[in-house]
Symmetry: C2
Subunit: 321 residues, 2 copies
């Protein structure tokens, strides 16, 4: 981390910042723990103020009943780590309006963590680098899932499609992201990230790993070349999806029928239960939405769908004073 170059000016203290924090799709099928992508919708809204007292006051303006104790709240622990870095000279007041449902697999905790880090940085006159913001935000992910992962946080902060080449040391690579449509369905069943991690085997066959890294290499090349067919061919996962998809009713049928309808491909969003599909055309993305709606209706499972795009921008300041 770079040295802190200045403390917040008196002029900034007392103002506020309002940010939109996008949902994100981690893993992108074959890129387990390394790839992620920001969505234009849904997004959380957070309002932050600097306060003199070195504490974090949290107000939840949604129906999710998340903890307001800073040490148990994802945004809270991120802000505490920012305060610690600044020698606890001040605190934060936070209002959170969550629209990304916790446990959806759409980066709900990452949105809180990344939003808190970016909003705090705005109030502190942008003294932190992108890498520092990711580091702060990872404290929130650790609280949420027990693991300091960055594959939701990074695209949430920077937008587009991102690669975490390495966590230690942190090495972030922004990939080119073509203008694709994304259809997402969130079936209202619970899959905990920690459970979804535990069912994974600790060892994988070398021959499967080779298939996987062929697909990852293809996917990265596809993004960089804007070769949508190559992206589609590379969206295969022989390691994680066969295990995790068992937790999601209707998964195989949705995938098969979506591809038949013209989707490039897709899979589990993060650790699930949401499923995403990438499409070249909006009309195809809407057909895929219908397929998802029909299948979960037949299964008698409540759901929510989105037809959206890859967000080129990450956490966005929509108002500030």
């Amino acid at each position: 981390m770079s040295e802190v170059k200045s403390s917040p000016s008196g002029g900034v203290r007392g103002g506020f910042v309002l940010v939109q924090c996008p949902a994100t799709v981690a893993n992108l099928v074959c890129g387990f723990d390394i790839l992620g992508m920001a969505l234009a919708e849904p997004y959380d809204i957070m309002k932050l103020k600097l306060i003199d007292e070195p504490k974090v006051i949290i107000t939840n303006k949604d129906a999710y009943n998340l903890p307001t104790d800073a040490e148990k709240n994802v945004a809270g622990v991120v802000l505490l780590s920012v305060m610690e870095k600044m020698n606890n000279q001040f605190g934060f007041e936070v209002e959170i309006t969550k629209q990304i449902k916790p446990g959806s697999g759409l980066g709900s905790s990452a949105a809180s963590a990344a939003g808190a880090a970016v909003a705090a940085n705005h109030l502190l006159n942008h003294i932190f680098s992108r890498e520092e913001l990711v580091q702060f935000a990872m404290n929130g992910e650790k609280l949420a899932s027990g693991v300091k992962h960055a594959d939701n946080i990074t695209p949430c902060i920077t937008g587009g499609v991102t690669l975490i080449r390495s966590i230690h040391p942190l090495d972030i690579v922004q990939l080119h992201s073509p203008p694709l449509f994304v259809t997402v369905v969130h079936p209202q069943i619970e899959v905990k990230t920690s459970d979804a991690r535990q069912i994974l085997r600790k060892e994988v066959l070398l021959k499967d790993a080779i298939k996987q890294w062929g697909n990852i290499a293809g996917l990265v090349a596809g993004f960089e070349k804007a070769d949508t067919d190559l992206i589609g061919r590379s969206l295969e996962d022989v390691i994680i999806e066969p295990v995790r998809s068992i937790l999601i009713p209707g998964f195989d049928e949705i995938k098969t029928k979506s591809k038949e309808a013209g989707a490039l491909g897709g899979g589990i969003s993060g650790s699930g239960p949401s499923i995403f599909m990438l499409c070249k055309e909006e009309a195809t993305a809407k057909k895929v939405e219908q397929i998802m709606q029909e299948i979960f209706t037949q299964l008698g499972i409540d759901f929510k769908t989105y037809v959206t795009t890859i967000a080129q921008e990450g956490v966005k300041v929509v108002n500030a004073k």
Copy 2:
């Protein structure tokens, strides 16, 4: 494969073609079985003629004593498979001047296989696609190593840096290759490809696989973005190199000292024993060559070094009639 569209014209039969077949570096450290790169030097030379009789007559014009029985010769089996595809209407006469030493880890068998396929295609008025040439040439690799792999053959045919996203079905992706220098040392010890495969574990830790695919993704992004520092950071292999490098005396010292001297990174070429290092500047590449020479001299192992570049072209027709 596409249908054969024409048989060779009488005008072509009786002519000859002379091709240069480049050495190649497979794996590129983290891209085991999927990545490869063509070198400007060394290269084999092959001269092919069509003959009326459906057989393959091989003459070796080097000192390696390779088999001249077509079914036991890498170029021979490739040409037999081409002939079979064309209903054995003709045969080939082949002169091979091998300059890439067999067993060097520099794609010696791939050069013979790819050279035979490309030269035959030239004599047959280019009726085969790139993918078909790779398929023919893989028969030669199968003879040499027991496995139909394409990570040397593909760059040998197309030049530059190539990705084999998948073998079944064959999916070849040409990557952008920046103008880098390559230093290669071939210590004169024997490492058989089949042995080098057998010592690999059949299972790998998921956490190592994740590191590996982060690096592969970084390497592909680095090539596509021409980001040489990213290429350097991504040239790490936590799965294959720790096992195979044990077979190559001096490996760790060469790698450490080459990087200290400014090399971006590098590792085992194919299954070894050759070692390659990528450098931005020719002067650095020459310093790296000195380091390699000093280390193998101290170890009392004979060696051959090359300071070369990534060949943008693959098997090249240098003369034809």
